[in-house]
Amino acid sequence: MSYVIEGQTGQWEIVVGLEVHAQVISHSKLFSGASTTFGGDPNTQVSLVDAAFPGMLPVINHECVAQAIRTGLGLNAQINLTSRFDRKNYFYADLPQGYQISQFEHPIVGTGTIAIELANGETRSIGITRLHLEQDAGKLLHDQDPTKSFVDLNRAGVALMEIVSEPDIRAPEEAGAYLRKLRQILRYLGTCDGNMEEGSMRADVNVSVRKTGEPFRTRCEIKNVNSIRFVMQAIEAEAARQVEIWENGGTVDQETRLFDHTKGETRTMRSKEDAHDYRYFPDPDLLPLVLEQDWVDSLKAALPELPDAKRARFQQEYGITFYDAGVLVAEQAVADYYEAVARGRDGKLAVSWVTGDLFAALNRTSNTIETSPVSAASLGKMLDLIADGTINGKIAKEVFEDMVETGEDPEAIVERKGLRQVTDTGAIDAAITAVLDKNADKLAEYRSGKDKLFGFFVGQVMKETKGKANPALVNEALLARLNG
């Protein structure tokens, strides 16, 4: 047990389960044809169905269903061939129908797992309880008028996947790792953009504490936490609050809480007594959702390679370390970039250029992999120039910096700057002669046994050739001359 709270009565363990709302990437909403584009002018992406006009009926969007199935498959989860939509009834101004269409008793996806990796390299498996499809609500704007609130229904009816974990998480760090891994998988699958700032991924956090070996105690749910860092902070704060209550002889009430990140504490949103009675019942406007196994199979066959599989393949195919492979697959665009560079080349050399010089350059120039000034093809060409001896590693650094600056082709840069490596042994010999002539004292020292000076001579020869000499040839020739 890695994370414990030291209380006055002993050690406490935390128990956490996460409910993640992930906005489905789709052109239109879950039950209407209205667009889902983020950032449209208020109420410009609203159909009569979304606004719940009289007599309007929902029709399921099959692309959203496909996205939920892909996600389920990506979470190694069971796909339920029959699922059902229920109505969750409550009144609010952002909920035009007066109910949310969701899946209560029979979700489209059943149990699955996510493997998470912790900072100490340990891996853990977190259970997924279920994934279901539901509608998002609209948005209320309270800051437009001193006395009125305004309603924007652009988001009303957009498809969400609610992904519920088992209460398997035992540390704030694990919650963070879980969310990062889930987001990574969703992004790989292209089913959710995972953008927590825009609200396209949000988490409800269930927290309880217990003494080791005890059954679960009462949990509290912290609603709508919108960053991974806040999730981790909220868990710490909430767990500490609960430990204090229990240790002071109190009892934790089951309730819904909010996390105030400016104060670093949670506070009551609504207590159990105020809990809504949602009066769930099957939506009579929709038939049960029945899937063909063939369709599920074809979606499965077309799934992209997921991070864990890609990482294992990179290790094997390119001979790189588990760690490096992990860095590369963290973002699919990086993995794709790397693979374009490494394919048919030296994979280890490629990883050192991508995670070293390239990442540094991106950082320095405030670019992302998508906007990189150096394309994967160019970097690959540069590695080819190293491999075929046109340039050496040192010159490559210079060429690369030029590529970052100009975006030019590496061959063009080499030609323009005359950086082609000197492989002419005559020229190298001439340089050696010049160096040895200038450094007769050092030569004497070397010959009297000061072997370490070899490096000095190499450096001087490279300098003489303006760094362009082939280092292997220099070594060979120098050794012959010094020992001659």
């Binding site: 009289p54 007599g55 609130s149 009066r279 019942f281 009579p284």
Partner: protein, 495 residues
């Protein structure tokens, strides 16, 4: 008398150019102007120029030889169907000024077939009722009078009471209705017309204001069984905008009428011989059985053992769905809003002012039966009963082709009667509700008058999507009964 025709007769007359669609429409507008003040069958009558423009367009199509199935036929539309740019109220204060920017699928199909809309007919508020007394626009009065009490205003039945009264009195050649627990069949029976509730899924619900989504079904209310078939052809068909609509071809329903019923097996559900069923209703039922025997049907007793639970299950499921369906009337986006200091207060004030007592009571009942702790005992149990009732019918239809029952346990009653006894009021639906729960088609055919001179109807029930056999049997009853009675008030009566 142009207002006394059937759809079939009127269409033949139009095709033969015996009269124009304009003349036909004008005759109906005149009849409405004359009789609607007394009947209150229409909530909204369309402006004369609008109606006549539709009629002129129909005349042009007849001239061009491109007339549709319903071309030039003036009809009433129950005010539960959303009609583009025409106020659609559901007879509720909350939608009193609502003008939909869209046309329901069913009315769009009727328009496509050339039908001429006269106006929007009255109904019980949100189609909740059996007497058409809960309308925010006032009750519809039946054009019929008891011979022994000619001054007593009677109900036209409900909820499609405006439609039944209009068709019976000659204020429309036909009208659309919707049936959730009997709202087409019972008012048809009370007003001496034909009413067909098709199989659930036959007509699209898109654009029809929902009462109870799993039960609501649109259908025709007409003067003949053939007309019902004809109009259903125009109304029915798959609609991708309604997930519960059936992807099936639409047969030429009207051709089923007149087909021989010889050899068909007709079941008589023994459980429907309820104690206390009035003699005149029983006698009419026996008469119907005799007529079908004469027509060559084989009549046998069948059992529908779960019938007695039908009404209670219905009055759990329908309010449950209605409590959720009507949540959208919150005063925020459309409809009546009563301003108040907080969001919850706006909801409370708008809905208190916007819903009448019957609607409020059903929302309350529905909310209750779905609540935590009661769901299993009420809603879930009612759904199980619904499954058993559907199975009862399926088993019966293994041995018989149709069932024959009375449509309602009595003839029309007086306005105000039963008003303070909701259970008695709900009993009106006892013979119609089970078919609604099962989703099977049901047809009410007027077959005679009771001792007080009021029409009585018999109901023919059939297998899922077998409206054709139902219409054949209905046609046989119609032919045998030769019902030609007219209500006391009708457009053809002397001024």
């Amino acid at each position: 008398m142009l207002t006394g025709l059937t759809l079939t007769e009127a269409r033949a007359g139009l095709a033969a150019r015996s009269f124009s669609a304009r003349e036909l429409a004008k005759a109906h507008l005149d009849a409405i102007a004359r009789l609607n003040p007394a009947l209150n069958a229409y909530i909204t009558v369309l402006p004369e120029e609008t109606v006549l423009a539709q009629a002129d367009a129909a005349d042009a199509r007849y001239a061009a030889g491109t007339a549709g199935l319903m071309d030039g036929l003036p009809i009433g539309i129950k005010d539960l169907f959303c009609t583009k740019d025409i106020r659609t109220t559901a007879a509720s204060p909350i939608l009193a000024d609502f003008v939909p920017p869209y046309e329901s699928t069913v009315t769009a199909r009727l328009l496509k077939e050339g039908a001429v809309f006269l106006g929007k007919t009255n109904l019980d508020e949100f189609a909740m009722g059996s007497a058409n007394t809960s309308s925010a626009f006032g009750a519809t009065t039946s054009p019929w009078r008891r011979t022994d009490a000619p001054d007593v205003a009677l109900v036209p039945g409900g909820s499609s009471g405006g439609s039944s009264a209009a068709v019976a009195a000659g204020l429309a050649l036909a009208a659309t209705g919707t049936d959730t627990g009997g709202s087409i069949r019972q008012p048809a029976a009370y007003c001496g017309i034909v009413g067909l509730k098709p199989t659930y899924g036959r007509c699209s619900r898109w654009g029809v204001i929902a009462y109870a989504s799993s039960l609501d079904q649109a259908g025709p209310m007409t003067r003949s069984v053939t007309d019902a078939g004809l109009m259903l052809e125009a109304m029915a068909g798959f609609d991708e905008r309604d997930s519960t609509s059936a992807s099936r071809p639409v047969p030429a329903f009207h051709k089923a009428v007149g087909k021989s019923v010889k050899g068909l097996r007709v079941g008589i559900p023994t459980e429907y011989r309820a104690p206390g069923l009035p003699e005149d209703v029983l006698a009419m039922w026996e008469q119907g059985i005799a007529w079908l025997r004469e027509a060559g049907c084989e009549v046998v007793d069948v059992s529908l053992p779960h019938t007695r639970y039908g009404l209670t299950s219905y009055y759990i499921i329908a309010p449950a769905e209605c409590s959720s369906n009507l949540a959208r009337y919150d005063g925020i986006r459309f409809g009546k809003r009563v301003d108040a200091p907080s969001l919850d207060a706006v909801y409370e004030a708008s809905r208190a002012a916007g819903f009448g007592p019957e609607v409020r009571s059903r929302i309350l009942m529905g909310t209750y039966v779905l609540s935590a702790g009661y769901y299993d005992a009420y809603y879930l149990k009612a759904q199980k009963v619904r499954t058993l009732i559907r199975r009862d019918f399926e088993q019966a239809f293994e041995t018989v082709d149709v069932l024959l029952t009375p449509t309602a346990p009595s003839a029309a009653f007086a306005q105000g009667e039963n008003q303070n006894d909701p259970v008695q009021m709900y009993l009106n639906d006892i013979f119609t509700v089970p078919a609604s729960l099962a989703g099977i088609p049901g047809l009410s055919v007027p077959v005679g008058l009771n001792g007080a001179g009021l029409p009585l109807g018999l109901q023919v029930l059939g297998r899922h999507f077998d409206e054709e056999t139902v219409l054949s049997v209905g046609g046989a009853l119609e032919a045998a009964a030769g019902f030609a009675h007219r209500p006391t008030l009708h457009a053809g009566a002397g001024a």
